[in-house]
Symmetry: C2
Subunit: 203 residues, 2 copies
Amino acid sequence: MKVSREQVAIHRRRILDAASRLFRQKGFDAVGVDAVMKEAGMTHGGFYGHFASKEDLMARACAHGLALADDSWAAAAYPVAALAAAYLDQEHCDNPGDGCVLAALGADVSRQGKGVRHAFTAGFRERVDQLARLMPGHSRAAQRRRAIATWAGLVGSMVLARAVDDPALSREIQKAGVATFGEKPPDDRGRVRARRGRRAAAR
Amino acid sequence: MKVSREQVAIHRRRILDAASRLFRQKGFDAVGVDAVMKEAGMTHGGFYGHFASKEDLMARACAHGLALADDSWAAAAYPVAALAAAYLDQEHCDNPGDGCVLAALGADVSRQGKGVRHAFTAGFRERVDQLARLMPGHSRAAQRRRAIATWAGLVGSMVLARAVDDPALSREIQKAGVATFGEKPPDDRGRVRARRGRRAAAR
DNA sequence: TGTACATCAGTGAACGCGCGTTCACTGATGTAC
DNA sequence: TGTACATCAGTGAACGCGCGTTCACTGATGTAC
């Protein structure tokens, strides 16, 4: 039966929420259109009224999942440390369905089509820009380089922490990641000290 | 028809080679037993004479791919820099089928069964131990922490460099990774300098 | 504001297809004599 | 060393199943009057 226009929008969002969660949990290939629609509380036949194909859904679910990310770390006194600690958390490790798209679907995305990779790339760019703005460093280029490497470190740590079947090793990976990628870069600390020194001398 | 015992061993190895390559290229779910056997030059029916199930093959192909890794970087003057440069290479990025299992299958492994995760974990442990031995650092614990974080950084960089659809951004990720994870840790340089200074003073 | 009807979102059966796995068969291997 | 035959690795057809996608149908929505 027909439903109201608001109901259609609600249904579409429910499909995106379900797809985004299931894809992150099990990967693109292991989740069928049927499972997504069931999780969204509907039957599979109505799917093609909302999306052109499963691939279309994959791209839009990617973008949806990347748009809804947790930003609270950005307000911390030292955002990079806050991000690393929040990211490499046991709960995040145990719940990929509610977690970062980069870590959960990065490897899957590289094997997918144009639309999926484009959505993923746009989301990644936003993350890098956001982190680069908050990254201590002397130049824009260095901030950006550090932001990219920090995201790579966090994503790699999470991928490995999830893959490994020994909980102690998994926790070790998380802790190593927090310590390494969350700490103030030592040579930067040096530069900050030098700058402060120069500023103090100028007074 | 029956074949000789040596031929059986050769066939088994060919199946493992094919499976290991195809799984890294396309992921576990996207590669069927049929495709693996065809790539190995046989028909699919004979598969179950070699392996108990597809899951069995996945675990053994994982171990097989991890066992055949390139070690040449370990002989370099500064192994960590050599590893990072060799790992975050355009050719490695473009050819996951012949590349590192950690980056190609890490995310997939976390969704698989006990056998696959165990094989992956064993391979990862070996990598960490090998790199930790060659890692500059003051303590075993620090060497190990750095080795884990370095592998995480390399794996994350490769996953993201492959996922992204803009070649320029992909190369930027690779370069940021080489610069960050391949460089001598700055605080370690500090310690080395301090130690050298102490040693020079003692003379 | 109330009525009549065209629209169309969601349902559930159906499709062709490829998957993992099984099995009767074949014929070269390797062993017993 | 030569022969006869049991073994068994690989073949290809077949299985049940779940996938992505299509479609005739249903009945509430929303519009034209």
